[in-house]
Symmetry: C2
């Protein structure tokens, strides 16, 4: 049980943390700070918010756990802003989709206060705090990404917190996290957006003829470009590596089709099928 | 209303045609031929089959409409086999996923009997006649692909047939059909299988951490490799063209990320999003 949970700059994820924390009773008191006064006013009326002070500093000054929920690019600066206001025992985490840069910069900004990064792999095509839900994290993967010297007790607190919110917690080094999500999340986004962009240049009637296969394959292309630019910027190296790996595989399949190497083509299709049917449902 | 509908070599699609035709009452009598005796025996007991003769020739000898439902590569040879047994007024169609080669070869094989190609864009990861359903075509696109000299009355009969089965019928030249499906069906399959193949080479735990985005993006990778080899072989030129177009777009995005050209990256993500949100639900 956490005495006071503070959430800063809530969007869909931050507001879902507040709702989920209230629903499962993991925190006694929830304080929230949003940059815009009208959002503070609206959030203050919600049953999952006990106080919505005017400043971030005030919001965290009695907090035991702080969740930084702004876009990835603004996490370190928000951390720097609250560093001096944090109680000595406070632990800070975040919900950012990339971790290597963020964990190093935020740890430095908060020093000597403790930061342990988090990345709940949850979301939707919708964004904004109004769309938050108490069950957004239920059964979803949540990475907790300590650095080499993160104190074990702080890591355990953050793990326990996400566990209480219903997530399946996985601990990984920030660098490993970024390599993994580049492949399982950022690359699929790049591929879907690219396919959407290609078809956008073809006659409009083509796309309207599509079956469910195309719909499924491109669903995530509807995601928020601002958020995705942010993610691609902060995981640029790993994303480029993943795209190059994909390019290589696609080129091999293209050559096999050009050369009518049906045994090789079939082996590639079989490999993809075997992988996909092995993906837990 | 068709007097006698004959369906040859039914798999998932052929059996669904029989079920749907019975359900909507578009044919008085349905005769079916399958290559394997045990399948003929099983199908003969189904309420959507009135007769399952031993030979394809016998099955079509009183047919007004014939649906050829084997894999794409075996359509022309099956047509050649029944050509001499068809009544003069019979019209033949198929359910093949590629059309240019198939329509030309099958039209030649049947001459002077009439062939008008069809491609109902329906299916599932399951295959086999047992998995057929009466509503498989409901609301789904069905291409009807006449050649330049296909008789109008025959085209109208085939269009009316699919319409009765609940499909949204679109008429297109076989060449145009193949270019369209290369982009909206075959390319997505190639991309999903390639992503599955890439991830199959990474640590198994990575994939188990994936969210719904990856699941959606790769769902079709579970499709039947035999069927897809067949499709890629028969639409090889158009598929290669589509892959090259995609390669080019992906390379442009990769360069933009490498060069930190965020305005260009954002424009590409926006284009993909705009296209996807415009896709009818």
């Amino acid at each position: 049980m956490i005495d006071t949970l503070a959430i800063l700059a809530p969007g869909l994820l931050g507001a879902s943390v507040a709702r989920a924390a209230r629903a499962c009773g993991v925190a006694q008191r929830i304080t929230i700070w949003a940059r815009r006064p009208e959002v503070r006013l609206a959030i203050a009326r919600e049953p999952w918010c006990d106080a919505a002070p005017e400043t971030a500093e005030e919001t965290v000054n009695a907090a035991h756990l702080v969740v930084l929920a702004p876009p990835v690019s603004r996490i370190p600066e928000l951390a720097a802003r609250i560093a001096g206001a944090l109680p000595a025992e406070a632990i800070v985490t975040d919900v950012g989709s990339t971790k290597a840069e963020v964990c190093r910069a935020t740890t430095a900004a908060l020093n000597p206060r403790i930061f342990v990064g988090s990345h709940p792999m949850a979301g939707s095509e919708k964004s904004g705090w109004e769309h938050g839900t108490a069950d957004l994290f239920t059964g979803r993967t949540c990475f907790v990404t300590p650095l080499e010297d993160s104190p074990e007790a702080a890591v355990a607190t953050v793990v326990k917190f996400w566990d209480a919110l219903g997530a399946k917690v996985v601990t990984a080094h920030p660098d490993e996290h970024d390599e993994i999500v580049a492949h399982i999340s950022h690359l699929p986004q790049v591929l879907a957006s690219t396919l959407g962009g290609l078809l956008a240049g073809k006659p409009a009637k083509w796309s309207q003829l599509a079956g469910n296969g195309l719909r499924d394959t491109t669903r995530i292309a509807a995601g928020d470009p601002t958020m995705w630019c942010d993610i691609l910027e902060h995981n640029r190296e790993e994303v480029l590596r993943a795209i190059r790996g994909y390019h290589h595989k696609l080129h091999e399949l293209e050559s096999a089709i050009a050369n009518r190497d049906w045994a090789d083509i079939r082996a590639r299709l079989e490999r993809g099928r075997h992988w996909r049917t092995g993906l837990s449902a």
